[in-house]
């Protein structure tokens, strides 16, 4: 090829609207596809729509003037630190404070084993980065957090779901799944679990199950990644004891201030065994050098000067009232054949629709009736979840939640009438399978 021909070829591809780079992306980029939540965010942000879709905490409840003042003091007094590069591992004082927070869940740990991350999402990304080669298996609850599934896909992990019920992961199912994956010759790198007030299912691993799950993992030598953003947002009694509290060597614990303070700081963390911690710090540095000192020190200043445990308590009361509003309305309004979980904390209810209804097909009709939710299939890597939806009660006020459930119940009733009259209901036209998630209710 002459230089002129070569040049001409490139001009032709680059001048057009198609993706000139399509044949150059890494193999992992093919796993990067827009999630089902994406389109929703645009739709659900219209004010007339009651969004039961998002997972946004109700930051309006924070004392904004006070937070503003403490940040101003921080910059004026410690600005040359807050505005400068920090260490890859994170601010040392904040790491001490994080250890205090974790103590509420029975965790005894040193600041030296904590890595501050850009939300716990980044902790998840870095853990996956250091452990996963393409094709490696990650075990995860079915359903599981959609953001985790996205990260696992980006690293070309193979996700194998483990059955859960209303007490969380089923230990026997976990043992069987591990055995079956190992028999197939594939390599399990870790179990990813959200044991408390799970996203999206809203269920919690019971105390009895906690030790059983850990015992299964110890015997099979499977590392546990415990993602615990909602642990302090339980509605009844003291926080549960974290899995990490009883197994410092077998658990990487992920925490976050996104739900107990505010997500806008993007301050989360990983607590990991020494050797893993070392790798995480190196991965952190190559990913972003260091997290924002400004954001980290703001969180530290908040924890040092404000009654943060009281604030969490008031968040708990606020979310309990909303949970009650949602469960009461579901009970009163949803037609027979619908089932849902009864969360004891956190942000989410997981609903299962009657047979032959499909939540993704229902979504546009729901939005037309001014209510939004997240269809269940996004929370599975294997196409399950067609009959499920995640309903969040964290952001709308109780009256709006009741109105949203009323609208949604109307849509489901209409779908049921269609199904019973024409035998079709909302089954997806593209021939999707009618696979419900397991019965969690």
């Amino acid at each position: 090829m002459t230089e002129e021909q070569d040049h001409g070829r490139r001009k032709a591809t680059h001048g057009s609207r198609i993706d000139a780079y399509v044949d150059r992306y890494a193999a992992r980029a093919t796993g990067m596809v827009a999630s089902e939540i994406r389109a929703l965010f645009a739709v659900a942000s219209r004010p007339e729509v009651v969004s039961l879709a998002g997972g946004m905490p109700y930051v309006t409840a924070l004392p904004l003037d006070t937070v503003g003042e403490l940040v101003a003091d921080l910059v004026a007094q410690r600005g040359t630190v807050a505005l400068q590069y920090g260490s890859g591992q994170g601010d040392p004082h904040l790491r001490e404070q994080i250890c205090e927070v974790m103590r509420l869940e029975g965790i005894e740990a040193g600041a030296d084993d904590v890595v501050v991350t850009v939300g716990s999402q980044q902790a998840l990304d870095l853990i996956t980065r250091i452990f996963i080669d393409p094709g490696d298996v990650v075990l995860a609850e079915g359903p599981s957090y959609v953001g985790a599934l996205g990260t696992f896909a980006a690293y070309q992990a193979s996700v194998v779901h483990v059955t859960m019920d209303d007490q969380g992961l089923v230990p026997e199912a976990l043992a069987e799944t591990i055995e079956s994956v190992e028999r197939s010759g594939r390599r399990i790198k870790f179990l990813y679990t959200v044991p408390s007030f799970q996203n999206p299912a809203g269920v919690t691993l019971s105390p009895a199950r906690r030790s059983q799950v850990m015992e299964v993992c110890r015997r099979a030598d499977v590392l546990v990644v415990e993602d615990n953003p909602y642990g302090l947002l339980g509605f009844d009694g003291d926080p549960m004891r974290a899995l990490r509290a009883d197994d410092p060597d077998g658990v990487v614990y992920l925490g976050s201030f996104s739900k107990t303070l505010a997500p806008g700081f993007r301050v989360g963390w990983a607590l990991a065994p020494h050797a893993v911690r070392d790798k995480l710090v190196l991965a952190m540095e190559s990913a972003v050098l260091s997290h924002s000192s400004f954001a980290q020190l703001a969180v530290g200043q908040y924890l040092a000067t404000q009654p943060w445990e009281e604030q969490i308590k008031s968040f708990r009361e606020l979310y309990r009232e909303r949970r009650d509003a949602m469960l009461g309305s579901l009970e009163a309004l949803m037609p027979p054949g619908c089932a849902w979980t009864r969360p004891a904390g956190g942000f989410f209810v997981w609903m299962t629709l009657p047979e032959r209804l499909d939540s993704k097909a229902i979504l546009p009709r729901a939005v037309a009736e001014r209510v939004a939710f997240v269809p269940g299939t996004g929370f599975y890597a294997d196409g399950s979840g067609a009959r499920n939806m995640r309903l969040s009660y964290c952001y709308p006020e109780p009256d709006r939640i009741r109105e949203g459930v009323r609208r949604l119940a109307g849509v489901v009733q209409q779908e049921l009438r269609l199904r019973d009259t024409f035998g079709t209901g909302s089954m997806p036209p593209h021939g999707g399978v009618d696979t419900p998630g397991p019965d969690l209710a």
Copy 2:
């Protein structure tokens, strides 16, 4: 194996101090090793040491009280946005402001093609993530930014250096390198370049070379990743025209507020062709969901309310004075046989030692004399750079710079005497090769 044996095995590994996870990491994790800069940061932070090692901007020059007040106003007035999750692509208003900043370098772009990242380091990580399969080739200046080399290694890229001289990348060398890599059957995914006031070399791609380099890349259909953190910190005249200004489809441009405002916000960005931008947003979401709204809006508020161009101008004057202090001292004090670059902007001078001296071997002796620098080998992926060192003038005040150079000159002189007396000098005991970087002076 019985369950008991199995359990016992795990206990044995987990109870010990060795890395129980060593056989489970991903292949990429083997490329994650501590950089040469790491140990330095600890050493150079002692107050008696003049650090010519770090790349920390002089944030003390910022009006801290003013920044504190504007952040307080932001949280009080727009706290429910600043403390909430944001979009993966970044705050829309900040992206508009970023386009204004880029206009100073001749770039006409829409906010829709900008992705806000956790420093430009994360932009580099995401670009590498979407383009690099293990073994793919990245072309980079020799020497190149150590943080970029770390990211490329983390994705198992193969870095091939391209010769540069005091005018920056040599276009003929670039064409030859591309040809030779392609002849070897390997795939070039992009050219990574810091065209203005390069880190670590301090040289700038001349205007004539800019169009030649772009022409070589267009003909060979090689994507250019233009990393430009120092572009507005030139000491003479107007900012250079960015490579991106003349080729919107062939360049991904990376920018940062770390040097023109402050690194503590960790706000950088990528400007990319549409299709690449889409992939970057998805990669961003799977990596961290979104950057801190708090940090993004703080930067936006600063740009909206403060005379930011004046601030950059005063940074330029401050750094020019320090550059002059360093060049003057080097000229006055360094023994014959030393050569160095004369940066027209940015933070760094690149020094080449006389033959048979080794900068890494000299470092501990320099630190004993209370001066620190970064040895040259960290800036190469191929073991070059033994006779080089990076000297930064961004952080210490002019008198400290002069004192640091005086101490360093003493160390180099002593090394030269050793070399001339015993014939050994500071050659590395481990048999490293005496490969200098190319002559950039």
